[in-house]
Symmetry: C2
DNA sequence: ATTTCTGCAAACGATTTGCACAGGG
DNA sequence: CCCTGTGCAAATCGTTTGCAGAAAT
């Protein structure tokens, strides 16, 4: 499934690039492969690391220069999670209207869609004299899993990773 | 009305400060006066400028050190508008659950509340196994005023200000 | 008197940019 | 061949911090 997605992304990006007179390069290839290879959110540094695992020659500057292209092309979305760094979400290709529910305690992120909310937003927007363009909802809460059990899978995974990273 | 608000803020902040063993200083006074003197959103630099108009001695460092206190005390809220800098909203004291509707074209910001949306959010959150904590909704759209008339009041005000600032 | 606060300027971390060379079309 | 893309390192921008003196309580 991820491979299939990657194919669609490649095609779509290729159209975007050639439409703008821009070029396909191995570095950009590596970067999109890294960006759409998983459905995790990531920041520039994460992406650099992943892209370099695919192609050693990818530099930080190229990552920073490629990210805006991916956003402009509509393949990637910049989401505001309130962490210090810009975070990118590769999942808007499949679910263009999804929202984020975040656990304040373990930082688990759940993506969800809701038709009622879509509808309500549209109504509100029009009622206030606007034509809807895009919307973003971020809900913070406490996940039951953690509250009930004192720990949760996400938290453990996170802690394990922190240990690895140093 | 703004004066009344300012009084409430002072009192509330005073309680917060003394509760933490922190002190009331002229600089902090100037900063809260600047922060709650209007209902505009602002960033650190805006606030510095406004605070210095009240008390020349206010420094950038003090502004940056005071902002987190105001946020922690619940008087001020950091909102994510996707501009490069952190933006603060002084209007959550009066309307603790309000949301933002932003015009993509003129950057006008409309604050709104909606009980249905509140309710819906709560339902969704619980359904997904979370206890609600806080939420933030940002809707982007095109304002009719600008679309219909080719210009709008907000845009003109903005342009006038840009000219002033340099 | 004892802390907390302050301004200053240096440090910081994420992101951007100028440059000279590399390499796609 | 022309023009865009690249890596590198320096620059930038918002924000944070160490320090020595100032000032609340």
């Amino acid at each position: 499934m991820a491979t299939d997605l990657l194919e669609r992304v490649r095609k779509s990006l290729q159209e975007f690039l050639s439409g703008k007179g821009l070029r396909r390069t191995p570095q950009r290839e590596a970067i999109i492969e890294a960006a759409f290879g998983t459905d995790d959110h990531f920041n520039a540094e994460d992406l650099l690391k992943r892209a370099q695992e695919i192609d050693r020659s990818v530099s930080r500057a190229t990552v920073y220069r490629t990210l805006p292209l991916l956003v402009e092309s509509g393949l990637l979305r910049e989401i505001e999670l309130g962490t210090g760094t810009k975070v990118y979400d590769p999942n808007f290709i499949d679910r263009p209207t999804h929202n984020h529910l975040i656990c304040v305690d373990c930082n688990k992120i759940i993506e969800f869609e809701d038709t009622n909310m879509e509808l309500l937003e549209n109504c509100i927007t029009r009622r206030l004299g606007f034509s809807p363009a895009s919307k973003m909802i971020k809900i913070e809460g406490h996940c039951d899993e953690l509250k009930r059990q004192g720990s949760c899978e996400h938290l453990r995974t996170r802690e394990a990773q922190e240990g690895t990273r140093g």
